[in-house]
Structures are given as structure tokens and as C-alpha cells.
């Protein structure tokens, strides 16, 4: 873990630290081709999580008539946020050295960065891309909550504003040296910034947009579990880039993150299947897939802070808590979070952020802070993220509803399906 300490510092993990200005390489920094190789790889893995990972995971779960609309919403996130990130997003998240809440426009269009610029031991361009792939998947995670009913124009406007107003500031607070970094709350790879932010925003959006017509009456079974399993698999594979890549190096820290990610995910999958088997009599494929994703979400903030045994605890806990959220809480409260974004990402992300404190290993614990202290910091960051995400998302949606004259397609289009109504296409052609 040679590099891990410095990495940890630059990611704002160990309390108030001298902040790293992303455009200026440390005097002693030189490019490490191994670290660079791994982060190049990690970056494309995180893109693969969205395309085709998330697209298929969600795409398989909606009804056939809305399948393409889900794929399209993932594609457009890669397109629109891909451009936005280079234009201003990166600067808003990682610029503005010393700002507590958001960055600035000093690096708009990546101004000042050249192919020779380094961020730690990797080219800054590579860091920009790695982070950019996070910015692409995070808003796309939300689409599962209001799937099968939101207008494409509303979705596109929503994610653009959401990245500017919710995502970039949160990334700045946690990873760009803002107040959560200074506080010393731990969020290695995005339990707060990615999963809680999207999960809580998604819940707000699902409720604000309203239920699907026929929800609770008509059956809305998945159109293709094989697609969902492919998606789950590629999310899992890609997540090693997400978590172990967040070490920004190919070192012991990355190795630890890889191991805890795999272990928590396997444990959560297994636990979910067992719970379901006991509770409902049958172990299901969708249960296994959901368990895998819940495990991946939960370990994300904790992946360099826990031991192998700790990873098992994080995973098993995620299975219990997310299973309860999805199968008990949602029906009890009656909201229509179509694909359980809140139950998996919101709840799983919050659990992971808390578990980072609960199960923190000795090697990761700041002795001065102590486990109890760390837990308090985690809780503070969790509470803030939940409130910030919900309030800002509702504000954006409120404005958009006024401007666009409504967020959802009309009833006939919902019947017909978004694929035809919004995109003039159908997923499958005639049989011959």
C-alpha cells in the first residue's frame, strides 16, 4: 500500500489535508505506466457498467414496449453527460481549490490540462475520464425509478441539471476537497456521491412523477431476465474498475478494494438467495441479481476500509436491509419506484456508508477519531447527502414540470409504450 496513503490524502480521506490541485502535479510525481494502464482499464470498465451493463439490467426489467426507452436513456447519458463533463463538469467537481461546496469554471473545456499533466502518477486526462464515467452512470442509475412513464425530453433535461446541481457539488464536497472531505467522512468510491445521491433523488422523482398507470393492478413482469442477468454480470465485472480503480493505482490498495468488492458481492448474493428461499420458498434469479448489485453498492464506500471478514459483514447486512426495503418497505409505503433504485442504491448506499464506520478495520481507522467518531462522521455525511439530493431534485423537477408542461407522457403513450410513442421504434422486428 505504498501509494495508498498519499492517495487517501488526495481523496480527502484522512480528515483535513493539504488539498491537491488537480492541474498541478506534485513536484515529485512521475508517470507510472502500470497505474496508468489500470486506470485506463478502469475507466472503460466504468463506461461498460452503463453501456451495456445498466442499460441491460434495467432494460430487462421493464415491459417490452418500454425496453428501448431505457436503453436510450442510458445512451443519452453517455452522450450528453459525456460532453458536459469535459465542458464544465470536471471543473465544477474538481476545480475551485479550497471551496467547501462546489468547484469553479477555471478548468472549463479542460483548460490548462495537457497530455503531460499528471494527477498523482497518472495523466490528468486519464483521471478526468475515470471521473467522467462516474458522472455518466450516476444520473442513469435514477432512470429505473421513473421508468416506463417519463418523457424523454424531461429525462434529458433532468439529468443535465442534476449533474450540474447535485452530482458535481457532491463530488466536490467528497472528492474535490470540500467539506465532507475535510470532515473526514469516508466514501472511497462513491457510496454517497454515486449511490445515495442517485437513490434518494430517484425516490423523490418516482413520487413526484407519480405511479405508472395500472401499477399494483396489472402484472408488470420483467420482459427478459436474461438481459437483466447479462447486465448484472457486466455491472459486477465493471465495478472492479469503479472500486479498485478508485485507488488510482495498481497497488495493494487496489488489491484490497478488488477483494472486498468481490467478497461482499458474493456474500450479498448468497445471503439474498437464502433469505428468499426461506421467506418465499424459492430462490430466484432476479433475487440473485439484485443481491449482487446490492452487495456492490454497499461495499463501494467501504472497499478499502474493511477486512475480508468485514466485507462479508457489509454484504450480508446489505442483503438483509435491501431485501427488506424492496419487499416490505416499498409495498408498505406504496410508492412506485419501478426498478427499486431507492431500495438498492439509496438504502444500500446509506448502509454501506454507515458500515464503513461500523466495520472499519484497524489499518484504516484513524486512532484519534476512533470507531465511534468515525460512525458519527459517516452519519453526518449520510444525512446531508439524503437531504441535499432530495431537495435539489425536487426543485429541479418542479421547474422542469413548469417549463416542459409536464414530466410524463400522456396516458395513450403510456399504453402504447414509450418505444413507439417517444422513439418511433420497437425493440423486436417481425419473427421472420
Amino acid at each position: 500500500m505504498r501509494n495508498a496513503t498519499r492517495k487517501a490524502l488526495s481523496w480527502g480521506i484522512a480528515g483535513i489535508v493539504p488539498l491537491l490541485a488537480p492541474t498541478q502535479a506534485f513536484a515529485e510525481d512521475t508517470l507510472d505506466s502500470g497505474d496508468t494502464a489500470w486506470i485506463l482499464t478502469s475507466s472503460l470498465l466504468v463506461l461498460m457498467m452503463t453501456l451495456p451493463g445498466l442499460a441491460l439490467f434495467y432494460g430487462g426489467l421493464v415491459r417490452t414496449k418500454n425496453l428501448l426507452s431505457v436503453l436510450m436513456q442510458c445512451l443519452i447519458s453517455a452522450g450528453a453527460i459525456g460532453v458536459l463533463w469535459v465542458a464544465v463538469g470536471y471543473s465544477l467537481a474538481f476545480g475551485g481549490e479550497g471551496n467547501r461546496f462546489f468547484g469553479d469554471f477555471s478548468m472549463a473545456m479542460l483548460s490548462g490540462i495537457t497530455p503531460d499533466s499528471l494527477f498523482g502518477t497518472i495523466p490528468t486526462y486519464v483521471f478526468v475520464m475515470f471521473q467522467g464515467m462516474f458522472a455518466i452512470i450516476t444520473p442513469a442509475l435514477m432512470l429505473g425509478a421513473f421508468a416506463e412513464r417519463m418523457k424523454f425530453s424531461a429525462y434529458l433535461s433532468f439529468i443535465v441539471l442534476w449533474v450540474l446541481i447535485v452530482y458535481c457539488p457532491l463530488a466536490h464536497m467528497v472528492w474535490g476537497g470540500g467539506w465532507i472531505a475535510q470532515l473526514g467522512a469516508l466514501d472511497f468510491a462513491g457510496g454517497l456521491v454515486v449511490h445515495m445521491s442517485s437513490g434518494f433523488s430517484a425516490l423523490a422523482a418516482a413520487i413526484y412523477v407519480g405511479k405508472r398507470k395500472g401499477y399494483g393492478k396489472e402484472p408488470m413482469a420483467p420482459n427478459s431476465l436474461p438481459l437483466t442477468v447479462i447486465g448484472t454480470s457486466l455491472l459486477w465485472v465493471g465495478w472492479f474498475g469503479f472500486n479498485a480503480g478508485s485507488a488510482l493505482a495498481a497497488d495493494g490498495s487496489a488489491g484490497l478494494a478488488f477483494l472486498t468488492t468481490q467478497t461482499a458481492t458474493a456474500t450479498c448474493l448468497l445471503t439474498w438467495v437464502v433469505i428468499e428461499w426461506l421467506h418465499r420458498g424459492k430462490p430466484t434469479v432476479l433475487g440473485a441479481a439484485t443481491g449482487a448489485v446490492a452487495g456492490l453498492v454497499a461495499i463501494t464506500p467501504a472497499c478499502v476500509s474493511v477486512s475480508p471478514a468485514g466485507a462479508m459483514a457489509v454484504g450480508a447486512g446489505a442483503a438483509l436491509i435491501c431485501y427488506a426495503a424492496v419487499t416490505l418497505l416499498k409495498p408498505a409505503l406504496g410508492y412506485d419506484d419501478s426498478l427499486d433504485v431507492f431500495g438498492v442504491h439509496g438504502v444500500g448506499g446509506a448502509w454501506g456508508a454507515l458500515a464503513t464506520g461500523l466495520f472499519i478495520a484497524d489499518f484504516a481507522l484513524d486512532a484519534e477519531v476512533g470507531r465511534g467518531g468515525q460512525i458519527m462522521k459517516q452519519l453526518e455525511s449520510i444525512g446531508f447527502t439524503a437531504v441535499y439530493a432530495v431537495v435539489m431534485s425536487l426543485a429541479i423537477l418542479f421547474v422542469l414540470k413548469l417549463v416542459l408542461g409536464g414530466l410524463r407522457v400522456d396516458e395513450e403513450a403510456e399504453h402504447e409504450g414509450l418505444d413507439l410513442a417517444e422513439h418511433s421504434e420497437t425493440a423486436y422486428g417481425p419473427a421472420n
Binding site: S424, E425, T426
Partner: protein, 112 residues
């Protein structure tokens, strides 16, 4: 006995089935079909090429009932399947000469 064939909009299937159950129908057979009629189709767009699709998804419900039940069943279907918009579909009534239950070999109304 008569065979009632109802061609309806797919999303009306659940309502029609409920309605039929309420008038005492105990069995029916459903087929996915495509229908062409007065209802306007839609246009699909693939790289600029437009395909006009005027064979629209419909569901065909087949029920065989005793002669005396035909009118009641037809009315139940009409009530449940109607939206008032073009394309609601048709009901065709055909004669049936014989019905056999495969499991028991029973014939006629007893086999329904």
C-alpha cells in the same frame, strides 16, 4: 353451442376475462394476433427509413358457450372491451357442432 371469437385491444384482456368470469364462463382460449382495419397504424423510423406499420397487435379471445348464453357473453365482452375509440375490435359468432373434453371424453355442454 356456439363459438364466440372476440378480437380486442391487448390491454383490455384482463378486464374482458374478469367480465367473462362474472357471467359464468369457465374457460377460454387466447391468441396473440395482428389486426388491420380502420384504425390508423403507426410509423417506425430506422436511420431515416420510414416503415408504416398497419398490422396492429390485437388479442383474440375464443369462448365456446351454450346457445342460451351467447347473448349474455357477447354483451359482457362489448361492455368490457369498449373504449369508444376506433380499433376496439369485433366479435364473430360461429356455430359449433360438437365439443369434447379430452380428459374425460365427455361431449356437448357437459364438456364445457
Amino acid at each position: 353451442m356456439q363459438l364466440i371469437e372476440a378480437i380486442i385491444k391487448p390491454f383490455k384482456l384482463d378486464e374482458v376475462r374478469d367480465a367473462l368470469q362474472q357471467v359464468g364462463v369457465q374457460g377460454l382460449t387466447v391468441t396473440e394476433v395482428k389486426g388491420y382495419g380502420r384504425q390508423k397504424g403507426h410509423t417506425e423510423l430506422y436511420r431515416g427509413a420510414e416503415y408504416v406499420v398497419d398490422l396492429l397487435p390485437k388479442v383474440l379471445v375464443e369462448v365456446v358457450v351454450a346457445d342460451g348464453d351467447v347473448e349474455r357473453v357477447v354483451e359482457a365482452i362489448v361492455a368490457a372491451a369498449s373504449t369508444g375509440k376506433i380499433g376496439d375490435g369485433k366479435i364473430f359468432v360461429h356455430p359449433v357442432e360438437e365439443v369434447i373434453r379430452i380428459r374425460t371424453g365427455e361431449r356437448g355442454e357437459a364438456a364445457l
